[in-house]
Subunit: 335 residues, 2 copies
Amino acid sequence: MSDEFYLSLAIDKAWNYQLLTYPNPAVGAVILDENGKILSICAHQKAGEAHAELNATKEALVAKDYRLKSLFDNAKDPNELYSLIIQNHQNLLKNSTYYVTLEPCAHQGKTPACANLLLAVGAKRVVIGSRDFGEHAKGGAKLLSDNGLEVVYGVCAKECDELLEPFLRWQSGNFTFFKIALTQNAVATGGVISNLASRTHTHQIRSLVDLMVVGGNTVRTDRPILDARLASDKSPNILIYSSKDKFDSQIPLFNVPNREVYISNSLEFAFKQRFVMVEGGENFLKNLDFRIDWILIYRSNEFKIGSSLSLNLKLKIIHRTTLDDGELLWCKRVN
Amino acid sequence: MSDEFYLSLAIDKAWNYQLLTYPNPAVGAVILDENGKILSICAHQKAGEAHAELNATKEALVAKDYRLKSLFDNAKDPNELYSLIIQNHQNLLKNSTYYVTLEPCAHQGKTPACANLLLAVGAKRVVIGSRDFGEHAKGGAKLLSDNGLEVVYGVCAKECDELLEPFLRWQSGNFTFFKIALTQNAVATGGVISNLASRTHTHQIRSLVDLMVVGGNTVRTDRPILDARLASDKSPNILIYSSKDKFDSQIPLFNVPNREVYISNSLEFAFKQRFVMVEGGENFLKNLDFRIDWILIYRSNEFKIGSSLSLNLKLKIIHRTTLDDGELLWCKRVN
Ligand SMILES: [Zn+2]
Ligand SMILES: [Zn+2]
């Protein structure tokens, strides 16, 4: 099979954690042993947790020697896991190939550098999707090639760059996406998504964003709470996008602890935040500001009698993720 | 990686040819070499052409020894390919593992039996999704286990059985599916699908079905030709589902050579045909006869101002296939 095939497995895996890794990039990694057998397909899942390469290395070693599982599972953090791997890899990954959607990091951050991990286990070849030009992380590929690994660049580069887009925008100041839940016939489900998996996914993202934007009409009509209870105690700060600043203070969202609520008829404040989620309906979608980067559509599996969205909008679907009995469409507007 | 992982690769591949193999089943096959490296992921593509196992064996041997490619590419039919493989496999697939969505056939049909092919190349293990209980094909697994192969059953059985459903219904008399093209906001595109890949796919299926059913209103309004010109010269026979039997004979569909056109206010005739495609719009979808087995939705990537479908219908999405910049949703109704 081609390098594209294996890197695509890493890309698909990484998308399962897209946005959930904030402020880190979504990254996937696949490891083949020296005979070309797939040992692991893993992703970075959450900031502070193991990088994709470390997760994949752990899984690959366990695939080679299952007795390592309990040892590695007891590691209390990525640093300890890294050390345990360095001490116990038994050359089981000698001459392995790593497929990574992003150049392995070369700096000691919250976790040790992944490039050094690849050297330590004796990898022979690394296939890289996107280059990392970040000040602290760059240089991983050079370190690897200086140490004799075969380094291949630019496989699935477009797909890997798309995967990386939120991270690059976070780094340059702001990533804003619009989220909407629709039935098969584009009836917006009025703020309540019936599917538990998609609600949990929404709450996971809400617990991470710096600001959540919601339309004034939605607040008045749905009287939402907009918390993240299915994922976390941390509720997002809210900007109510509205020309009128009078709201019933009994609406649940105003009574969530440790939350700021702003009311504004401008999104300027929002675009100064780093990671912003906009939830809204038809009007919002019709009048999307061009600075909104992505559109995330949760699509249920049913047609429902109701008011379908009526607008002209051409999308590029960057990725599709199945979510229980529905799906997530990660989209950009095509001009 | 698990058996489910590899069999899923075979299942996904087979779906690319779903319905196009009529009257044969859609089948996928994956081969791993003795070290667990993936050598090939292939499918049966068309009746009269090579079975999935034969295609996968060819690809796997070429992956092991590229010089075999030109030899195999010159085979004039599956029988010759089979013979060339038997003579030239050089034990390159000794101790290989086959993943097949359907039990390998055990009878000489238009092509030699796949079970014998697995024996000839020295496979060690075969993982099977669905059993084959057909009179002529059954017994493949028994032949393999009698000859010392490890045979594993029932992996991804539900997914493999779903993949097989049209074939089982063709065998028991009738498989009927409803096809509709929709925008993101469920505007039916009035018979003209803009995406060339989805139009070609529609034409491929039209060239295979025994009967195509279309609503009388669609015929009067759209004045369609309903041929299969993007795929074949063979246009489908048509049943116009209508209570009135007066139509303008200048409507192009009436003037296609070698085609029968029936007009009826009953689908009884249709359900006596083996492979039937229904094309229609909102009314058809609202009143779908319960004997319609599947719904195939071609979904474009744009929202478009127009009349969105308004109905209640809960779907199970069996499979999603990306098609250029749109997608195919293979669905069943959930009662
Ligand atoms: Zn790293
Ligand atoms: Zn066969």
